[in-house]
Amino acid sequence: MKLLKISLHHFRQFYGKHEFTLATDPARNVTLLHAENGVGKTTLLNAVLWAFYGVTTKKFEQREKIINFEALQEGKNLATVEILFEHEGSTYILQRQHYQKSEQNAEARVTAHRIENGNLIAVPAITLTNSVVPPEMAKYFFFDGEHAETFSAETNYKAVGKAIRDMLGCSVAQVAIDDLAYAIKGIEESIGELPGQDDLQRIQREIGEINNRKEDADRQLAGLLELKAHCNAQIQQIDEKLRGVAAAQQLQKRRDEKTQERNNVESKRHNANTTLARWVGTKGILVVARKLAKESLDFIDEQSLRGRIPSPYNEDFVKEILHAEKCICKRDLHPGTDEWRYVAELLKNASKAETLGRVVRARSRINALKDGWNEAVRSLQTTQELIAELNEHHRRLDQEITEIGKQLEDAPIKEVATWERTRQELVRKLSEAEIRMGAIQLAARSYQARIDKLQAEFDRTATRTNKTAALIDKRDLARLALNSLKTLLGKHEDEARKAIVHEVNKILAVTARREYYFRLDDGFEMNLYYQTGKPVPKGSGENQLMSLAFIASLVDFSRKRANKPDGVFIPGTIAPLVLDSPFGQLDARYRVDTARFLPTLAEQLILLVSSSQGDNDVLAALDQYIGAEYVLISENRGPQGQKNNDPITVRGQQFDTSLFNCPRNMTRAERIL
């Protein structure tokens, strides 16, 4: 998607009609808007958000007052934001209007049209906007840098994860998967409805009920995951505060160390438990085989003692006597005589070289099993001892951490004690959530196992008449396609995750002052860590840098992939970045470095900056990418008095951004490039 033009009419500070034509040249893809605080930077960002989704940012003052005050006083009761944009080869016009019927009563209208040969063709506005930039991703694309703490409150990982998948172009494959699942369900229902298939209907009902329970468990798990993330983020914030207070600093430092130590112990314990689980799989057989081995050896030895293993008669030796028709005592052995039959009878139990070899090999293998068993018991004991030791270490650390918590709770400074109590409540909630998650995960696994079993029963029960066979073939065809798509999606997401993580870490390596690493987990939850493994507090400048680097990398990934269509994934969302005060929490060096990487990664960039953020160094870094540039000017009806004209110098030209004795209070835009 590329924004072509934004038109505002009586929207907030903008009295009358104001148009912003945006830079679309790939080589000069940046539109730069200069405005001092309070003049209209955030209003412009909110105009885009409002037009697309009917919402504004949380910190937008008097959010419900959309119509310009001056216009309202003049009896004009309609405010409009119109956005002209290109999306996947078509041009669209999106218009949202706010109609103020009375002081208390307002109405919003949104329309969207595709422009085709000069004609306007109506399209569903919400479907269009959702497909252009999913609402869950809006805050990343339309970014309010002055309130970067919104990232610290990020809990809606599932929705963001889905939105990111949509941006990666997975939506078509995902819809195909959903449609195939729906078709499979319908086909199975048809099988059950065939005459004589009552049992199948029962199985289907049961599968449906268990599926509902499983979905409920999945929902609960997602909720608990969000709760955990929320608690963890709050704990991090409290820890950060405690680190900054002299009275709590030492104790918090000790707690950090002990917590780190406990994490190491937990990691070692996890490894030891994995070894134990592996032991059951690989060495457990030796324990089972031990009794068998012992009995087999006893049997062989007993038979040996009895002289049967090996047999006292060798097969070749007996055959030689029978062939020669002469016994070893020199007496004749004529075939058919009792003596000949007696000797021939010995062949039944006579041993062969092969039999002897087998006995030797069996004995050697049984002995090897015995040795393996001894080794298995030794390794089991070692692992069990290690787990016991780690459990004890963990218990001691838990005690020490609890003790530190008590000391902080009793701290003479009231604030510290309050923070600590809140922290302990959060830790308790976390622990409860983990216990509940364990139980729900167990239940979810058992539901899945039951579904698999019922599914197999369904297939067995389906009578193989021609009709059912045909339906089962259809279902299997759909199932095969569904599984192929799931595998492809998994691979694609994995590839995207790796590429994005690589790109973000590359940006951080160049821009960030300290050594950080960025991680994106399976659910697309993003986190920034110090090299020590400790998470960087949310809401910090580094996290803002991470967010910018992340979204720029995501856009970059989508853009690169759009040139390589692969049949399965549609070109992902390539939306412009509209960044209001993106350098808000960054210091001078971070600003310049960020100004360098943003235009290269985003296809279109709209930057709203004040003079304090858009200093000469930032402007110099951006200069080669700027395709359009505006200055927002605040016109005031009142006299100047002691007030400043807030002059700014852009491209060697000075602009007074505050004017006085004007006909009305409003903001206007002046294009300078």
């Binding site: 569903p124 497909s131 195909a176 729906y182 259809k474 065809l477 396609a481």
Partner: protein, 62 residues
Amino acid sequence: MAMNASQAPAPETVQEEFLNDLLQLEKMYAHELLGAKAERRSKVLELINKTAAKLHRETTKD
């Protein structure tokens, strides 16, 4: 015109074709921005029926 056995595509090829056709169908509906879920799903079912019949013809020939 019916194909003879030597011209008949292998079952794997029929399945691959099915996947391609399915994605084409989904893409068509994604671009239409109509959100016609019921219509799209009925088309998917039609495609399954058509492909299953084709597969059945191929396997019975063998």
